[in-house]
């Protein structure tokens, strides 16, 4: 139970130590100084390219941390290691926003010294227009929160069809922007870090074609961009470090190559031949090849960043379908699960940790340890059989849906591991593979939802709300599709508690309440938490200050140096 916590703490200490020494450099060179880190070309080697560079079309986690090199948003990630990094920080705005009307109205004031790449000053109208664009059906892909949160915006079709705009966003002057929400949202400063809050100059908007050269507000601008293939960034001369202390913007030039194999990327980072010494990656975590060389005191130990992105791998029950309408059955299976084989199937204990809680072990999300159905490391089939017998269930056969791709984290290997563990408890599991591309579609429609399925859930921002609400809020059950409340669980008391926490603007109070809520819901065994994500990323030997932040778990391109 304490295991997860003790695992986090040493890694955070390690990060702090790294920060002083500067990622790959020796500690003899002294502390990393953002004022003198400028110069050189950073190479980024990635697996998947950025499919869309349009700020309207990027999800909160889309594109790794590359988009934030181009787009400044009202607020941004605090970019610090550990817990401090899990907080939002002002970016285009002067502060985190002023809530009023019980957190139903949020007012932001823009800085005076912010400009687009062509030198035009950024105004509140540009921010408003950027948000409105993200409502256009021609530009899909962004996070869904604004449609839900803004007053009367759910059916807005974007500025191309409805140029009158969204009434719930007011711009009384060039510097001020006011958001009117339909219910209290204490997490608004977190949402304002999304790229939909990046300014877009209306005169330069080309609709779908905008992403060929999106107008930058950040330290870099696009020199060339080919989706899923390459992206070259050069300095934006109208950006100034005085207006932006969070982005160090060390390299003069950043060249992203995508479409590479993860094994090849990591091998290149290890070999570090030529330009590869100045290379980093945002989406290729270490593979088994490098794990073997890590932690041995070898040279590679200086080229690794260990962080944790808050995410949980779990098994979801559909409580509307037998036998999972029976809580005893769900409990019995919770006892039976073998988390060691799940962890191994996901890549081993260095890159995933076993979980007994739905919330991953980050304080920012309100994590509180609990283990309601102790299964030990390898499962407790005897206890599972006993609980099944108590429930009067015998010869149980269940179906378990999983993706056909192991890359997803809910693929055949994990499914087979669960199948094996349940077999020990006398439960037969029939596996159903669903094509990865349609997996969320099939499981997200109550009409087609399987009785049990493997799932992965990551935090859109480090707070308990986006982690728990879509999964357990009964009002979030969407029958037409896109549903994440797979248990189809609807308890008015829980819904009321969610509303109460949402109205809180003090994060530490909110964290305690989210944690308590998770502990309470956990008793119902609506899910079986299996494991949580850890992120281990390599970087080239010349790369300095590659420190993972507490928000994304990976190092931040805006702060690393290759000089």
């Amino acid at each position: 139970m304490r295991r997860a916590l003790t695992l986090v703490l040493p890694s955070l200490l390690l990060l702090a130590a790294c920060d002083g020494g500067g990622g790959g450099g020796t500690s003899a060179t002294g502390a990393f100084d953002p004022a003198t880190c400028q110069g050189g070309t950073l190479t980024v080697l990635n697996q998947g390219g950025i499919t869309h560079l349009d700020p309207a079309r990027l999800y909160t986690s889309g594109g790794g941390n590359i988009p934030s090199l181009l787009f400044r948003t009202l607020t941004t990630r605090n970019r610090q290691p550990g817990e401090a990094g899990a907080k939002p920080a002002p970016d285009l705005a002067t502060d985190l926003g002023t809530p009023s009307d019980g957190a139903k109205t949020w007012t932001y004031r823009l800085r005076d010294d912010v400009f687009f790449e062509d030198g035009t000053p950024i105004t509140s109208a540009d921010v408003k227009y950027g948000i409105e664009r993200s409502f256009a059906p021609e530009l899909p892909g962004g996070a869904p929160y604004l449609r839900d949160w803004l007053q009367d915006a759910a059916s807005y079709q974007g500025p191309y069809k409805q140029p009158e705009g969204i009434k719930a966003i007011e711009t009384p002057d060039d510097r001020t922007i006011v958001f009117k929400l339909s219910k209290p949202e204490g997490d608004f400063p977190f949402l304002a870090t999304a790229t939909q809050f990046a300014p877009v100059p209306k005169a330069k908007d080309k609709g779908v074609g905008y992403e060929a050269h999106p107008i930058s507000s950040g330290p870099y601008q696009v020199e060339s961009y080919e989706p899923k293939k390459s992206l070259v960034l050069v300095r934006n001369t109208h950006w100034s470090s005085k207006s932006d202390t969070l982005r160090y913007a060390c390299p003069d030039r950043i060249e992203v190559t995508a479409g590479l194999d993860a094994a090849v990327i990591n091998q290149r980072l290890v070999s570090g031949a030529g330009q590869d010494a100045n290379a980093a990656t945002t989406d290729a975590p270490v593979g088994p090849e490098q794990l073997a060389q890590l932690g041995t005191g070898g040279p590679l130990d200086k080229q690794v960043a260990r962080g944790e992105f808050p995410a949980t791998y779990y098994l979801a029950f559909n409580t509307k379908k037998a036998p999972f309408d029976n809580q005893k059955v769900r409990e019995a299976l919770s006892y039976a699960v073998n988390r060691t084989s799940v962890v191994n199937a996901l890549g081993g204990s260095t890159i995933v940790g076993s979980s007994t809680t739905f919330l991953p072990p980050q304080k920012a999300l309100g994590y509180q340890p609990y283990d309601h159905f102790p299964a030990g490391d390898t499962g407790d089939p005897a206890k599972a059989k006993q609980v099944l017998a108590e429930a009067g269930v015998s010869n149980l056969t269940i179906e378990l849906a999983h993706s056909n791709s192991d890359d997803s984290g809910y693929g055949p290997k994990v499914a087979a591991a669960v199948q094996e563990a349940f077999k020990q408890a006398g439960v037969t599991v029939k596996l159903t593979a669903i094509d990865d591309a349609t997996y969320r579609d099939v499981t997200g429609k109550p009409a087609t939802e399987p009785s049990a399925s493997l799932q992965y859930w990551g935090a859109d921002w480090p707070s308990g709300g986006p982690f728990l609400i879509p999964i357990f809020d009964g009002r979030q059950i969407i029958t037409a599709g896109g549903n994440f409340n797979l248990a189809q669980y609807n308890d008015p008391q829980v819904n009321a508690e969610i509303d109460a926490i949402n109205a809180l603007t003090d994060q530490s109070t909110a964290q305690a309440r989210w944690g308590a809520l998770d502990t309470t819901i956990g008793k119902l065994a609506l899910t079986i938490p299996l494991a949580h994500e850890k992120d281990v990323f390599l970087f080239g030997k010349n790369v300095k200050n590659a420190v993972p932040d507490g928000w994304r778990g990976t190092y931040d391109l805006a702060r690393i140096s290759v000089k």
Partner: protein, 293 residues
């Protein structure tokens, strides 16, 4: 036949090929003899902190696990390899049989049919020969629903895209054979086309078609392995060699045995079938031109 008996390459190839077929046919028995199955996880034999690489030398080879373990899961590699042989060979043999059947049917029909039938069928064969097999197979296999029986589907897709060569050869041979005296005699005696095809033409086709089919078999095996490698082949947990090699790409240094065992077996099996085909070609049909593409 005597030539075959003296062809050492053929004999060695045939021996290995037969062994592999035997292994594939008796996979459940072999796994049972080893006391293993291809689904059980052995987590206690893996080094979890190092990504789940098998403990011990040579990928965890031991008295219990004759070829070691699959990294990441600890499933018995011997059991997975012998079941993998079943998939590889099964799909290849199935596809080859289907190809030969379709090819014979279309080829004889073109060869014996009238000018029109021949013209249309020949055009059709040309078209099939012109299809980019791998590309279409990937598209098709990715699009069809997940729950269709995979090995059968693979064999069918490979066959439907690959029967052109057999048809072309059959047609050519049929055209030659139909000019022979005994065929003409049969025609004069009032025999129908179907009867002629069955009685007079088919026996004459045996040698060239057999030679060609022997070469098709390893070709189809390569295609299956390639499709599995790309992730559109058989679905896990069903093992296949191509699929193993696909995951092995991330393990080649940490666990070289996981590359060597399925890779070596695939190579050996293919080589044995090529040797057999080569021997057959030399013995049955020394003048036949290059057909393996």
């Amino acid at each position: 036949m005597r030539a075959l008996r003296r062809d050492r390459g053929f004999l060695v190839g045939a021996a290995i090929a037969l062994l592999m077929i035997l292994v594939a046919a008796t996979a459940p028995l072999l796994a049972a003899a080893a006391g293993q199955d291809y689904t059980t996880y052995h987590d206690n034999l893996l080094d979890s902190a190092r990504g789940g690489v098998p403990l011990g030398r040579l990928g965890g080879i031991s008295g219990d696990h004759w070829l070691g373990l699959e990294p990441g899961t600890g499933r018995d590699l011997f059991a997975r390899v012998v079941y993998g042989a079943q998939v590889s060979l099964g799909v290849a043999v199935g596809a080859t049989i289907l190809e030969v059947l379709i090819g014979l049917l279309v080829g004889t029909a073109a060869g014996l049919g009238g000018r029109w039938a021949d013209g249309i069928l020949t055009r059709l064969v040309d078209l099939v020969l012109a299809l980019p097999i791998l590309v279409i197979a990937i598209s098709l296999l990715a699009i069809v629903p997940q729950d269709w029986p995979r090995p059968l589907l693979l064999a069918t897709v490979i066959a439907v895209l690959g029967w052109g060569g057999t048809a072309r050869i059959t047609r050519g041979e049929t055209l030659t054979l139909r000019t022979r005296d005994y065929v003409a005699a049969a025609r004069l005696s009032g025999a129908g086309w179907f009867r002629i095809a069955r009685r007079e033409i088919l026996p004459g086709l045996t040698a060239p078609v057999l030679t060609y089919a022997a070469l098709l078999l390893p070709t189809n095996m390569v295609v299956e392995a390639g499709l599995s490698f790309l992730g559109v082949g058989v679905r896990p947990p069903t093992p296949s060699w191509g699929q193993m090699l696909s995951t092995a790409t991330t393990w080649f240094r940490a666990d070289p045995m996981y590359v060597i065992i399925p890779g070596g077996l695939l190579f050996l099996t293919l080589l044995s079938f090529v040797l057999v085909a080569n021997g057959l070609r030399r013995a049955l049909d020394p003048r036949q031109s290059e057909v393996l593409r």
